[in-house]
Structure formats: C-alpha cells, structure tokens
C-alpha cells in the first residue's frame, strides 16, 4: 500500500514517458510513481510494455519522450552505473553467466568494486541463508542448478550490494508449479523482511495479488488501471480489466 509522504521523494517516478519500437508503442504516455519501501506488481499480457517499463527505470532503454526520476533526481546517462548498483534486477531465466559458478556470478560486481574475498563470501553466505540455498550449491555452474536454485542465485546476485530497490521481471515465469508456489512464499517473506522498494512484473494475477497490494494493469503500453485487487474486480476501469481478471481466475479456479 503506497503511502504518500510529501516530504519523502518517490523511489521511482515516470512522467509522460513514451517509448516506441518502430511502429509499436511499448510505453504510451505512462505516468507512475513508486513510493520508497512499496511493493508493486505490474501485470498485463505479453507485449503490454511492463518489461519495457522496468528497463527504462534501469536506463537499459531510454524514453523517446518524458522523464524518469529516481529518488527525486532526473535520470541521466552519466548516472546509470551508480543507479544500477543501487537496484537489484532479476529476469525470468535468472540471467546467470554460464562461464562462472554461482559464487563467481555473485562475486562479479563486488569484486570489481574492490571487495575482499572474505567479505564477498560472508555476504554470499548471509544471502544463502535468506534464500534457503545450501552453501554447497554456490560452487556449481548454472547448468548444474535446478530452475529454482538458479532463481535463488539470481536474486542473491541482485541483493549482493544490499540495494534500495528490487526490480523483478517475471522471476518465476520459467518454473514448474510446485517450485513456483514454494518460491512465491519465500519471495513474499523476503520482500516483507527487507522492506525494500519492489516492482515485480508478472502476467499471473494471483501471483501479483500474493506479492503486492498495489497492482498496475497495462495494455498496449498504457496503464489501464492502478489499484488493489478489489478495485480491479469490482470497479474495473474498462471491460478489458474484467476479461483479464476472469481469464486468470478460470486458470487458477480448478482445484
């Protein structure tokens, strides 16, 4: 639940952001704010622009028009490296580098920043405890990990520098239902425990509702509705919202 503190600037703010890929609009006049410490779920079908939204927040893409503000400051190309180090980013398959062990993946950025081996190891062990990952797994290469382990390592990699925010792009999208269910519980617990600003992209409305009170439904690059699950169910902004909610309900509805 976003609580607006007028004194405290938002963690992320988009104002009138446009982004096109050729003729296709990925973001079409999007204005959104993500308060510090809030958890938000971005939902919508494939191609609705929700992944692009995360990518512009990290400076992986630059808007054609409009402005991104991070902690009240306009995002400029010169600051992206510093920004990315304050934000953990996790993608669907984990994005782990196959030529490095899990530990090597975790150490990549801290090593570059001059952390000692012991400090890196200690942080990795802390995070392994947080994500319930056996320590022995850290010596393995990504191909030797299960899907769930890979996502845990990816999350740990995102958390190594203890960032202020976490951006997750369908983090559980490639997992089988049982592992997925298990990780949903764990992620929820981790979000609550760390109290960071979290934006999670998913196309599963139940998962979204599990993670976050606030949901932003997107379609064709536009924000269709921004609210709680009850708002989407009972006060849909347009018929698409109802269709989206019902389509998902029938999927999860069978016992």
């Amino acid at each position: 639940m976003p609580i607006a503190h007028s004194a405290c600037p938002d963690a992320f703010e988009l104002s009138a952001v446009h982004k096109r890929y050729g003729a296709i609009p990925a973001l079409d006049d999007v204005t959104l704010r993500f308060a510090v410490g809030s958890t938000t779920a971005l939902i919508g079908s494939s191609g609705s622009g929700k992944s692009t939204l995360l990518r512009v927040l990290l400076g992986l893409e630059w808007p054609d028009q409009g402005e991104i503000r991070v902690d009240g400051q306009t995002l400029l190309p010169a600051q992206v490296l510093a920004l990315r180090r304050r934000v953990g980013y996790v993608i669907q398959e984990g994005g782990l580098f196959p030529h490095l062990t899990a530990q090597g993946n975790l150490a990549l950025l801290p090593h570059h920043l001059g952390w000692s081996k012991d400090r890196i190891r200690q942080r990795a062990e802390e995070l392994a405890t947080l994500t319930h990952l056996p320590l022995s797994v850290l010596e393995r290469y990504p191909v030797e990990l299960s899907g769930g382990q890979r996502q845990r390592v990816a999350l740990m990699r995102g958390l190594m520098l203890n960032p202020d925010a976490l951006l997750l792009d369908e983090p559980l999208g490639a997992l089988d239902p049982i592992v997925r269910h298990e990780l949903q519980d764990e992620l929820k617990a981790i979000f609550d425990q760390l109290g960071k600003t979290v934006v999670v992209v998913t196309h599963d409305i139940a998962e979204a509702a599990w993670f976050a009170d606030r949901m932003v439904l997107m379609r064709n690059g536009k924000v269709v509705q921004d609210g709680r699950l009850e708002d989407l169910c009972q006060r849909p902004a347009d018929p698409f919202v109802t269709r989206f909610v019902q389509a998902q309900r029938t999927l999860r509805g069978s016992p």
């Binding site: 992206v80 490296l81 990315r84 669907q92 994005g95 580098f97 030529h99 990549l108 990504p142 990699r157």
Partner: protein, 492 residues
C-alpha cells in the same frame, strides 16, 4: 681515445662490407637454378661470398627483388626483357641497346652467355640427316612430313601460324599434342618434327637436331645475367666473375647440364661445379638436419603471422560486434582479402617487404584475419541478449563486461577461429618458398620442378603433420581456456 675509435671503425669497415654476401636468385626452373649455381661457384672461386636463393617463383618476383635490392643478380633472357620487362624497347633489341635501357634503372647486364633458349623446331637427328634437312627453310621441300606441335604453340600467333607464313610451309598433316607426348611420338617415328625449347634436356636424350632458324623467325632469348650496378662498387670481383662467364656456355653444354639434372637426377651444384671444373662445396646436409631447419622456418612463418593476426583481429571483431555498420565494413574488407589468390597475395607483398620471410609473414597475416575476426564477431553477437543485458543491469562498466563476461563466453568461438587460421596458415606457408621464405615449400617447389615425388613428399608430409599437430594443440588449448561451465553446457 678518439683516434682509437676511428682506427677501430676503419679496421672494421672492410669486415662489415664483407659481412653482407652477394645474393643471387634463380627462377623456378632447372636451367635458371643451374645458372644460379654457376654464378655462385664462379663468385666463390673469385673469393666472393655468394648466397643463392633458388627457385624464387617467376620473372615478376625476381625482377622486383632485383629492383628493390633483395637480390643482387639473377639469370635472365633477352626476350623476356624486351617482351615483358622493358617498355619502349624494340623486340629484337641487341644487348648494348638493352644495357643502355637498363642503366637508368640501376641494373647491369652481361653479354650473352653463349646460348639462346627459345622456341625451335626439332627432328630426330638420323631422320633429318636422311632427308638432308638442316634449316627450317629445308622443310618446305618435304610437304609430306607429319608435324605435331604443343597446343600452346599451335594457338599462339607467334607460333605455328606465323612460322608457316614466314617459311611458306606446305605441310597439311599438322596436329596439336601434349608436349611430353610429342617427344615420344617423335622418338617412335610417328611424327617427323615438333616444337621444343632449344635447351630442352630431351634434345640430347632423344638424339634430336634443332633446325637452324635461317629466316630469323623466333625471337632471341639469349641467356644473360642481370645484376645491380651498385655491385660494381660493392663487389667488383663478382661482377668481373659474372662477365667472364659470357660466351662460355653454348646451347649444347646447357642441354647436357639440363639433362644431367632432369634425366639423371644429379644435383645442380655438382653439374655446375663440373662445368666450371671446380669442387662442389656443400655436399648436402642430412635429411633430418634439413627437416629441422625447414620446420623452424615454417614455424616462424606460421607463429609470427598468427600472433600478429590474433592481436589485430580480436579487437577488430570486438569493434565489429559493437557497431553494425562498422561490422559490415570490417567483414567485407577481410572477406575481400580472403578472395585474393594466395600466390598473388605473396607477390603483392614484395614491393612492400621485398622477398624472404617478411612478405610471406605479411601475406599469411592478412589471410589469418578473416577467420579470427569472423569468429570473434560471431561469438560476441551470439551471446543471448538477456545475458548481455544482465551484465549491463549489474552496473558493470562496458570494459569490464567485455573482459569478464562477453569475451569468456565467446572464447570457444574465438579459439575455433584462431585454429582455422593456424591450420590454413600451415598449408599456405608452403607457397612462401616461391618468394624465398623457405620452409616446407622448398622441397615441394623443387620436387614439382624436377617431377620428383619423393622431394614433394619431403615437404608435403611434414606440412600435413604440422597441420595435424596444430589442430590437436588448439583443441587442447580450447579445453584449457574454455570455462568449465561452458563445456558442461555444450555437453547437454
């Protein structure tokens, strides 16, 4: 003290001058190699240190090397000078005229060595005697003779068509035939006359008579030595020795020497020494010593060119992968390099690097670029976009991403490119012998010239072995340098 230095320099000067030997070159056919050996031995007898760089490909290579000072002298023919090398010179120019034309180029020419190596018409000596034929014009009296000419001679305007016109030859029984077959047909009596080169080894072997060109139809190809005029200061004794050879070798003597090498397998140095009446010096190093030396020469060509190519091609590949337009340009350029025929590439390098090891290395270097550039490019652009983006999203600067993430992931592909380049290099380096780079190509070139399979294999087998070893070596390096995580992935 100062005076002592001057004394030292003065004392060293003659030693320094002697330290650079006179270099003589020869073309890639037996007669030229024999003439090169004769010049070398004549120089040695005159107390001059001479080295002979044998079988340096064709006319263009030797002429270029002489002009650039990579060699000091080589045997040539006047017809080649008038037809190919000099412009604005009459086709039948005599030697004083040629001497005047060569002087501005800094090149000197000896008088004729005493023989012509030109087209001639030959008959079996007994048949010619029986019919009373000595001159080409005598042929007109025998319209029933069977003639067979090499296909090239049949087709060239300065071959059979011109000959028939000049001498008004009436024969109708004329056909084209392979040169070697024509000799056999002549020996067996199936054919009465054929075209040949006037110093062919086969002439004495088959007891042939060359008919006198009494109407001067065939151009003169008098054998001479060309030398750099600066040699007159640097080594006057050698120039004197060369000039003393003028007029000493007649066509018959040259034929005999060609026959001894080509038909009886004698070494050029022995034949040349016999002719001059001196002792041959090198009695040939053993097979293993030769092999070792050639292996070292070959390795030097391959390793230096490959190392230089790796140093340039990987950054080029990285650059190409970074920008689409630059990528197209780099790919197109290195692709064009690859389409240049290898011998031409070696020859192109001569004006830039002279002859010997360095032009060969330069040519091999250019050939190595494409496989390495292409594989670096393919390896980098083949990385999944989400992985590349993950590295960016971590907040790693571009250089660190390249070094720690992208290059290790592309390593397998890059190494495969280096391996391809290395294996191609080992094979292509054999052509280096034609521009004086030595290596395994040397016995192959000699073997082809003498039609000696054993010699060809002496170069071809080690070259093939080296290619296999290089291949195996790189597979080892690939295993060693490819991160284990990538190998596991490849297995799945």
């Amino acid at each position: 003290m100062k005076r002592a230095w001057i004394m030292l320099v003065v004392m060293l000067m003659p030693a320094l001058a002697c330290a650079t030997p006179v270099r003589i070159g020869s073309k890639q056919f037996t007669e030229s190699v024999i003439l090169g050996e004769i010049a070398r031995l004549a120089g040695r007898e005159a107390g001059v240190q001479v080295v002979h760089q044998r079988e340096l490909g064709g006319t263009a290579i030797l002429w270029g090397a002489l002009e650039h000072g990579d060699i000091d002298a080589y045997p040539e023919y006047t017809g080649t000078l008038t037809h190919e090398l000099l412009k604005n010179v009459a086709p039948d120019a005599d030697i004083p005229t040629l001497r005047a034309a060569l002087k501005p180029l800094g090149i000197g020419i000896t008088d004729s060595l005493g023989f012509d190596d030109t087209y001639a018409i030959g008959m079996r000596a007994d048949r010619a005697a029986q019919l009373g034929i000595r001159r080409l014009s005598d042929l007109a009296l025998h319209p029933d003779l069977h003639l067979a000419f090499s296909n090239e001679f049949m087709a060239r305007s300065d071959g059979w068509p011109g000959l028939r016109q000049r001498y008004q030859l009436p024969q109708t029984n004329v056909r084209g035939m392979d040169h070697a077959l024509a000799y056999r047909a002549l020996a067996s009596g199936a054919v009465d006359a054929t075209d040949l080169y006037s110093t062919d080894a086969e002439i004495p072997y088959y007891h042939l008579r060359t008919l006198d060109d009494d109407r001067h139809y065939f151009p003169h190809y008098q054998a001479v030595y060309l030398y750099r005029l600066d040699l007159e200061q640097r080594s006057p004794a050698f120039v004197q020795a060369l000039n003393k050879l003028a007029g000493r070798i007649d066509a018959n003597a040259m034929r005999q020497m060609n026959a001894l090498v080509k038909m009886q397998g004698k070494k050029e140095v022995e034949v040349a020494a016999d002719f001059l009446g001196v002792q041959p010096d090198r009695d040939g190093t053993g097979l293993w010593a030769r092999l070792l030396q050639r292996t070292l020469e070959h390795l030097r060509l391959v390793l230096i060119s490959l190392a230089a190519a790796v140093l340039l091609a990987i950054p080029l590949g990285v650059l190409a992968a970074r920008s689409k337009r630059l990528g197209h340009l780099v790919m197109a350029l290195s692709g064009v390099l690859q389409t240049i025929p290898s011998l031409a590439m070696f020859v192109f390098m001569i004006p830039l690097f002279g002859i010997g090891t360095w032009p060969a290395i330069a040519a091999l270097f250019l050939y190595s670029l494409l496989p390495i550039v292409r594989n670096t490019y393919a390896g980098l652009t083949g990385i999944a976009p989400d992985l590349r983006e993950s590295a960016a999203a971590l907040g790693l600067p571009r250089g660190v991403r390249l070094r720690r993430v992208e290059l290790p992931m592309a390593m397998r592909s890059i190494l495969a490119g280096v391996k391809t380049a290395a294996v191609i290099n080992v094979g292509t380096a054999t052509l280096g012998a034609l521009i004086g780079a030595g290596g395994y190509g040397q016995p192959i070139v000699t073997g082809i010239r003498l039609d000696n399979i054993g010699l060809i294999l002496e170069g071809a087998i080690p070259s093939a072995c080296m290619a296999l070893v290089v291949q195996a070596l790189f597979e080892g390096v690939e295993r060693w340098l490819t991160p284990r995580g990538m190998r596991l992935e490849a297995r799945q």
